[in-house]
């Protein structure tokens, strides 16, 4: 008898609470924000294709559908991965993220012919120059998309790693001591 009443009352309770949840789900529904747009606005927008998608919009769509990890964008590094994870509410293991190797394009003055091809393709207008004059890359505006390298006829535009200066030098994260292997 007790058993039956227990089963009965618990079932009733379950049904009632489930019903409440269903109502709440219907009436308190939050309109989902256009997450893809938000994601796309976070991504660099240089359409570099390093993520394997044809551009930033498709990458954002993949992120929104959960088909791509938050760490999808190599140029964005851990900073961007953090933002994406925060937006999507994902847990993020940053130890997996490889910081992008910071590169910057540089013009070799000896071989530049002033052909102007590079600055026509630069997506951020980071290359300054005029016809028949040596061009210069503004390092701060360079996003390392390598488009200029592809069009340069004399290969005078090359990617160089950004040098660490006194201003950009940072303390390294302390390494935990080796716990060793079981040889004791």
């Amino acid at each position: 008898m007790y058993v039956i009443s227990a089963i009965f009352s618990l079932t009733l309770l379950g049904l009632f609470l489930g019903f409440l949840l269903a109502i709440a789900g219907k009436y308190l529904k939050v309109e989902s924000s256009p997450i893809v747009d938000e994601l796309e606005s976070l991504l660099p927008g240089s359409q570099c294709g390093q993520c394997g998608f044809p551009g930033c919009r498709p990458a954002a769509e993949a992120l929104a559908e959960g088909k791509a990890p938050a760490t999808i964008c190599p140029p964005g590094g851990s900073a961007l991965a953090n933002q994406i994870a925060a937006l999507l509410g994902l847990d993020l293991d940053l130890s997996e993220v490889k910081e992008p190797e910071l590169l910057v394009a540089r013009v070799s003055e000896a071989t530049c012919t002033g052909c102007t091809r590079c600055f026509k393709v630069c997506p951020t207008d980071a290359i300054i120059g005029a016809p028949k004059q040596i061009h210069v890359v503004v390092a701060d505006a360079c996003i390392a998309c390598k488009k200029c390298v592809d069009v340069c006829p004399t290969e005078c535009l090359q990617m160089h790693p950004i040098e660490v200066t006194l201003r950009s030098w940072r303390w390294a994260k302390p390494v935990l001591p080796e716990t060793g292997n079981a040889l004791c």
Binding site: W171, A182, L183, C184
Partner: protein
């Protein structure tokens, strides 16, 4: 020219302290009470102590090895030994060997290593094991032997002690009895008044430790001295012990004054059970207590209040273990809400306002 030195951050010099130094200091402070306890309860107590401590170390080695790490440096920090030591102090002195082994296993494996080892555990390992043992094996954990010091003719000899430890007690009723708190609780349940119950009670003997009780918990005097020494050495702070003892004293005094036949006096509270051991050695465990002075005072007061409540109205005569575990669970909460004020900010973390001239 000196070259190629790795960049290192300050401070380049350090205080002469280490984890193992702290652990050894605590063990040193425990030593007088332990030696006295072992002397009081004879060879079986020594057997239990050795078994508990060594099995604690053994379990630690097994866990560390299973994690694929080198065990020696971890053992050398002394934390497993201290855990085993503290656990042994809280066990009935003539408990069978497996109580010590199971207790150590619970403390080291369930109480410490599953959380990730030293510094990660939420609950005090020794208390966790003590409470788990008490609930699982109530008879063994409440069989209190009479005081029977080493080298006395009535006390068990070495061979006899092996029998007690490994085969169990034969004549239980003859050599065991109740602790002060247990006796009072039983008598209360038969509606006796305190004046009758405490006819034979000697405060002095309890203070010295000449009474039935856990292996190392009986001597109020030696434990308090050890604790005071630790405070003096700066190993522990006074906040937790003092607030714990004060809280118990306060509540006990109030109730005792209102009804001195049904509520035991603060002196008996402080003088019996695990009070001193818990106040100075268990509740002050770094890992499981809050890390600000104010938080520690709250923690100590909470422990004291819970001990008083469980002793007075609970079904167990002694509630120190439960009290500490409950407050351990509250430690993260205390640490979350009681934080030091950051310089130049108010308690909520907003910058201070510039005072108007």
């Amino acid at each position: 020219m000196i070259t190629h030195l790795k960049p290192a951050s300050g401070a380049h010099v350090g205080a002469k302290s280490s984890v193992s130094f702290i652990m050894w200091q605590v063990m040193l402070a425990l030593l007088p009470a332990t030696v006295f306890g072992i002397w009081c309860f004879g060879w079986p107590a020594l057997n239990l102590f050795v078994i508990t401590v060594s099995s604690a170390v053994l379990f630690e080695v097994i866990c560390i090895r299973m994690a694929g790490r080198v065990a020696k440096p971890v053992i050398m920090d002394g934390s497993a030994m201290l855990t085993g030591w503290l656990l042994a102090m809280t066990l009935p002195p003539w408990s069978p060997w497996w109580i010590g082994v199971v207790g150590s296993g619970l403390a080291i494996i369930l109480g410490k290593q599953v959380y990730g080892g030293l510094g990660q555990n939420l609950f005090n390992p020794a208390m966790l094991a003590r409470v788990a043992l008490l609930i699982s094996f109530p008879i063994e954990m409440t069989t209190w032997s009479n005081v029977s010091p080493l080298f006395f003719s009535q006390s068990p000899g070495i061979t006899e002690s092996w029998h007690i430890t490994f085969m169990g007690l034969d004549n239980i009723d003859a050599v065991t009895g109740a602790t002060t708190l247990g006796y009072i609780k039983t008598e209360f349940s038969q509606n006796h008044l305190l004046a009758d119950i405490l006819k034979d009670y000697s405060g002095l003997l309890n203070f010295i430790g000449w009474t039935r009780g856990s292996l190392g918990e009986t001597s109020t005097l030696l434990l308090a001295l050890g604790g005071a020494w630790l405070i003096r050495r700066g190993i522990i702070q006074w906040y937790i012990p003092i607030s714990l003892l004060l809280t118990v004293t306060m509540f006990a005094s109030v109730f005792h004054m209102v009804d001195n036949q049904h509520y035991i006096s603060p002196m008996i509270h402080l003088n019996s059970g695990a009070m001193m051991c818990v106040a100075f050695f268990i509740a002050t465990d770094y890992v499981t207590s809050p890390n600000t002075p104010t938080g520690q005072i709250v923690f100590g007061a909470g422990c004291g209040l819970l001990i008083f409540v469980i002793r007075t109205w609970g079904s167990y005569p002694e509630g120190a273990g439960f009290a500490v575990l409950l407050m351990n669970a509250a430690t993260p909460l205390i640490d979350h809400y009681i934080r030091p004020r950051i310089y130049g900010r108010d308690r909520k973390g907003r910058p201070l306002e510039i005072p108007k001239p």
